[in-house]
């Protein structure tokens, strides 16, 4: 709880710091702020508490999710190198402040106990993301991404709100714990039938945010058009927060309405896996491929929603962490390469601009390959264990066909992730040594090392979750 207050104050002070200090200082201060807020988050560990009229609940699960979100924000801030250097990004302090505020929204979404906190948290996160997506003001692609994201985002909010309203009409409460009690104690037949529509509309609203098929159509365009650093932010933080909210609602309070949502959720999960993986195969642009890959990873996560094993929560946390670490590295290398290539080739984000990266930049090539291996789920990386835990949880609940499909689709995934590795190591190309700032390099290696350590000793983190 204190982390939220601290982050809001830090965000405001960040804006003031922008008057006097250059970008470098603000970046370091923002990193410091995030470390402090992570420490404050940890201080609530093992104290299950309700705050502010029972609206905000801190549990160990919510603390773990908030830590993953703040860790992702930490790396995004560490990888932000372009702000303040060119004409377009002349206001670095504002961007860092908005990022801190959006982390507040994300934390609210993982630890709400009242529908309104979910709604306000989602809106803080979304409004911040609309601004950040459009922050490359004179770039038409960024403009287009911003308007698409904005219109789709508010459209989705409408669905979520209509769902919340119908559930309120049926249960007369906005409190998550109250709704859960009412739903478990009343027979579903005696509930008003619009309750089920409400539940489905809430699920649809959140599925839009995690970009599950068939609600994913905005994702590739928005991810491609947004500045890469904010695509990194979207594909890690927004996704983790929305999925955590979805998981808490669906497998928590709507758990007793299992029969209403289980078939749609399976269908959506399988469709997401197929659409995400198959479309990713055909992409020429690494950024677009990563967008489709994030859709397919949403599919794996949605698979777990219905498996009510005790270990499921920790599997989801492990998966989110491994996915975050790998995605952040992939986008970071993409930032460096596309910046280098932007003056040389027409489409700097394509696979072809990665060709021959290993020759003069062995470090970058290694980091990129390890992140690709982790996303593909190759053993000895974190991604393998993430997929393994999810599949075994789902399998032990006798959900056979979706798991088989998921395994097949992760085999398809290997193909397009290896396309990146092949371009880096085997194709011939001319890339000179790319200058990497120290902080950037440290963050890059920290993530890569994290991926490997998690891959070799999964129990190290799994025992904490």
């Amino acid at each position: 709880m204190t982390a939220i207050i601290a982050l809001s104050l830090f965000g405001i002070s960040n804006l003031f710091l922008g008057f006097w200090f250059p970008r470098k200082t603000i970046q370091l201060v923002t990193l410091l702020f995030l470390v402090v807020s992570m420490a404050l988050t940890v201080s609530d560990w093992n104290h299950e508490l309700l705050w502010f009229g029972n609206m905000f609940r801190t549990t160990n699960t919510s603390i773990n999710f908030s830590l993953i979100i703040q860790l992702a924000a930490f790396f995004v801030v560490a990888f932000s190198k372009a702000f303040g250097q060119d004409d377009e990004h002349t206001h670095p302090a504002e961007y860092y402040a908005i990022m801190l505020f959006s982390v507040v929204g994300a934390i609210l979404m993982v630890s709400f106990d009242h529908m309104i906190v979910l709604f306000v948290g989602l809106e803080i996160l979304s409004v911040a993301m609309y601004v950040l997506t459009g922050s490359d003001k004179r770039n038409l692609r960024s403009n287009e991404a911003a308007i698409k994201y904005f219109l789709m985002g508010s459209f989705t909010t409408g669905f979520l709100l209509f769902g919340i309203t119908l559930v309120y009409g049926a249960t007369r409460s906005f409190y998550i714990s109250n709704i859960g009690t009412i739903l478990t104690t009343t027979a579903p037949e005696s509930m008003p039938s619009f309750l089920f529509i409400g539940v489905l509309l809430i699920i649809v609203g959140l599925l839009f945010k995690v970009s599950a098929a068939p609600f994913h159509f905005w994702t590739p365009d928005v991810y491609e058009g947004a500045p890469t650093i904010f695509t990194m932010f979207m594909s890690t933080i927004v996704k983790t927060a929305s999925f955590a909210a979805l998981f808490q609602l669906v497998s928590g309070i709507f758990g007793s309405l299992y029969t209403v949502w289980v078939l749609p959720v399976y269908f959506i999960s399988m469709l997401t896996l197929v659409v995400g993986n198959i479309s990713a195969v055909y992409q020429q642009s690494v950024k677009r491929m990563l967008a489709f890959s994030s859709i397919s990873h949403a599919g794996y996560l949605i698979l777990t929603v219905s498996s009510k094993q005790i270990s499921t929560t920790s599997s989801i946390l492990y998966y989110s962490l491994s996915y975050t670490l790998a995605t952040v590295v992939a986008f970071a290398v993409l930032i460096l390469v596309s910046e280098y290539q932007s003056a040389r080739v027409e489409k700097p984000e394509n696979f072809s601009s990665f060709e021959g990266l290993a020759k003069n930049n062995p470090g970058l090539a290694l980091c990129f390959s390890i992140s690709m291996l982790s996303l593909a789920g190759i053993p000895l990386t974190a991604g393998f264990w993430g997929k393994f835990f999810i599949f075994s949880d789902t399998f032990s609940r006798n959900i056979i066909y979706p798991v088989i499909l998921a395994i097949l689709m992760s085999a398809v995934g290997i193909y397009y992730y290896f396309k990146g590795i092949i371009a880096v190591y085997l194709k011939a190309g001319e890339i000179e040594k790319i200058e990497v700032p120290t902080l950037f390099k440290m963050a890059l290696w920290a993530c890569t090392l994290g991926t490997i350590i998690l891959g070799i000793y999964p129990s190290l983190v799994k025992s904490v979750f």
Binding site: M115, I116, F119, V120, E123, V127, Y130, V131, G134, K137, R138, L140, R141, N143, E144, A145, A146, I147, K148, F150, L151, S154, F155, T157, G158, L161, F162, T165, L166, Y168, G169, R172, F174, F194, P220, D221, E224, G225
Partner: protein, 109 residues
């Protein structure tokens, strides 16, 4: 005993749900069929107002003020969204002199 307003005695709650559903679907129709960004945006406002009306109806029928408080929050959030949304639309108009979202198709390869 306090008197119950006549409307609550004579009009069943179902009517309000239907009215709001109809308003909500008109909003969806607008979002899906129009291309002018500002009109799409107005259709989204219609959807939010359908939600507001339904919340107020539930709140009055159940005598529970939290529903009406939720409406305030939706209004506040809508205001914030409008500010950002119109800023995005102004930004786009500066660049392409149009607000037809069909013109923006750079990303569709």
């Amino acid at each position: 005993m306090q008197s119950i307003p006549e409307i609550i005695r004579t009009i069943p709650l179902t009517n309000y749900i239907m009215l709001s559903s109809a308003l909500f679907c008109i909003g969806i129709l607008g979002v899906l069929t129009r291309r002018n960004a500002i009109i799409v945006f107005m259709a989204i406002e219609l959807m939010l107002n359908a939600v507001n009306l339904l919340l107020a109806a539930f709140s009055s029928y159940y005598s529970d003020p939290s529903g009406q408080i939720f409406v305030f929050f939706i209004m506040a959030v809508a205001a914030a969204e409008v500010a950002v949304g119109l800023a995005i639309i102004v930004m786009i108009y500066r660049n392409i002199q149009s607000i037809d979202i069909g013109v923006l198709n750079k990303l569709k390869n």
